[in-house]
Subunit: 467 residues, 2 copies
Amino acid sequence: MTDMQIKQIVDIVKTGRVLTDESDRFSYSFDASFGTFLPDAVIQTKSVEEVAELVKFANREKIPVYPRGQSTSLSGGPLPVKGGMVIDLSVMNDLLEIDEEDLVAVVSPGVLTADIHKAAEAKGLMYPPDPSSSHVSTIGGNLAENSGGPRGLKYGVTKDYVIGLEVITPEGEIIRTGGRTVKNVTGYDLTKLIVGSEGTLGIITKAILRLIPKPPASETVMAVFDSLVDAGRAISQILTSGILPSKMELMDQASMVAVENYQPSGLPTDAEALILIELDGHPMAVRDEAEQVSQVCKQIGAREVRVPQTKAEKEDVWKARKLVSPAIVRVKPTKISEDATVPRSKIPEMCRRLQEIKEKYNIHLVVFGHVGDGNLHPNIIADKADKEEMARVEKAVAEIFEAAVQLGGTLSGEHGIGTMKAPFMEMELGAAGLDMMKRIKQAWDPHNIMNPGKIFPEPGQKLVLSE
Amino acid sequence: MTDMQIKQIVDIVKTGRVLTDESDRFSYSFDASFGTFLPDAVIQTKSVEEVAELVKFANREKIPVYPRGQSTSLSGGPLPVKGGMVIDLSVMNDLLEIDEEDLVAVVSPGVLTADIHKAAEAKGLMYPPDPSSSHVSTIGGNLAENSGGPRGLKYGVTKDYVIGLEVITPEGEIIRTGGRTVKNVTGYDLTKLIVGSEGTLGIITKAILRLIPKPPASETVMAVFDSLVDAGRAISQILTSGILPSKMELMDQASMVAVENYQPSGLPTDAEALILIELDGHPMAVRDEAEQVSQVCKQIGAREVRVPQTKAEKEDVWKARKLVSPAIVRVKPTKISEDATVPRSKIPEMCRRLQEIKEKYNIHLVVFGHVGDGNLHPNIIADKADKEEMARVEKAVAEIFEAAVQLGGTLSGEHGIGTMKAPFMEMELGAAGLDMMKRIKQAWDPHNIMNPGKIFPEPGQKLVLSE
């Protein structure tokens, strides 16, 4: 941007701040994925009108606009890869209203997702989407990326709970989509198009979220299997027995070893798989279902099945699962967290392929995640200073994507495409499918100013993890 | 179409039929809404490739293409308002595959929705969307219109269960969207854009539907209220007490009177409202919840609360609700069935406004529907031969739409826009919101061949019910 353009931006932003010092801009140059890209200016304002004016100006002057929440993205969503302006929406955090009668929450984009959980629970309600980052990530980021989480198995993902939006279009118009009703078929579903479009179709400035009554009780079942294949069979059998658990999480042997080395938790490191199942609902129902789930696991040959009784015991069991992420970065400093997702029946085959890829490229691979909906998290642990290792990692990641797509799955279950997976889009969608997406982008954003460089691959673009 | 064009169509359709006789074409000139429009040709073929060739041809020659299921549409979805070709997809009905492990159904568009219900239930699974027409409507029509139904309260609508599609684009390309995984954030969500786009963005030739475990038990509670406002209060209180019923249906006094005149069912015709609540889930849970719901209704002043015990008793109670539609057309021959939907808290106010509209225009208005999610069905009963009455009806319908939008609701909860509600689109969406929808249509269908005349109003278009 020119000095003149910066001056014009400062004129537009009457109630907020424009950051142009290099040290300030540096804080906005990275996220939880790879690469650093310095923006020309960072804008913080609570005024929707000012943001709309900024976008109008950017559209006129063809300046890239990068909306940003707390930048916990694992796929490069908020990276300002082409410079221009970053709009820091984490400051737009004043509105968090729970309407018990309409069963909705109305929120501004900078509100932390965990704060929505708390506010809903205080009124006996629940906002189900629970990305692992919810205590630090904003709802605006969750909306842009259509975040998932463990409860996706029973309750679905962010998109399933968004019924209305206020959005600034790439040309700076403020539009409203959907509304406060769960049923709405008035024209095209712009709400569900914009949620998950990773900030490439506009800036979300308000959202209406659907809430549900909070289930009054929950139970947890922990089962240890000597064989990963048996664990897979148990999962299938539970899901076809009339029970829909709220969570079904898997930890493989490597995850358990990592946790035990990091913070000993009594995990069975000689077993191939540990599964954790949470059931929620009516107290009598979940007790009975926990019993049924335990029986299935035992019949299939679990070597240990445990139903923790007290709240503290339950928390202990889930804590081990939460330790996987911090534990594995202790092994090596660089974590490449993937979310390639396969149809549920293909989980054992995907596990086998991951094992092959691990051996072929001699990489440190850990597998855990939301096994009930096929959303595994193969994590590769490496050191990005080691160029030779990172070259092997790049090849391994490409093969993981290929395996997922070959098995009828998808590149990304919940982390988004961003910069990281853009080179693989055509492999999954085909040229015609990708073209239909591009047409929407071009029709809405003719000057390609909204989050350019994301989702759509540039000609010849390849995955690069080494800098 | 010219004779030459018809001949070219006949050449493309090698495995199916092309109907051109006037008597055949007449059968395809109407649906369950208003108006008759004769197509130039009707095509029946099971071949996706032939349909794709037809669309390519139509795109080249700028011939309107009207996809059609069983034509139960209440909003004019399949009406061939600009002539051209109707593609009868009800013949594409061979594929209905239930995959228990992946928890999906894979279906072709001509399959009846009720047959999907049966096939899923045979394997202990459930396809939740339950439009009232499911025994006669095709899944293709349900997908095009994003159909709802009573279970929308707990389970959502058609769109919430579609995870993958095969679609013929308006230029005749065959693309695949989504897949067999519940979580998928690879690019824009074309699946949810196409579902509910009323056949204006392409032709769905295959769908992958998400299934859930079938709840093992259900209970019904029937409550009679002297006051409609009390019924509304009971509904709110139940929904904020940690219970999410699978259905919550309302019948107003006029509906009960109509049913009693049609087929006496012992309904309390002197009461203002009857609500029917269904709870589904674990047997112990639903028994307990039925008890809690009964208590709430009694506390709020229901004059009668009943929990039918046997299967036959339960069916009797629901039968009365199902009789409303056939009963009201006995009063007068023309039924204008609306689905204006309001936020749940605005139901009492909407009922009051409907009463005012009824009196102002001296029309026969009956209110029933899915009260738990704000999706009321105000039905106007009239005689379309009576021009003076229909002119009053047209004004009343416009005021119903205005009331819904003013109360923060929507023109259509589940019937779609079609021809019937197109004139009111801008009132709800604003010019900028409608423009963003049009841009998608233009980008995908530059020659406007796919179901032209639907959703988007023509300049100066008004609602016309009299012919």
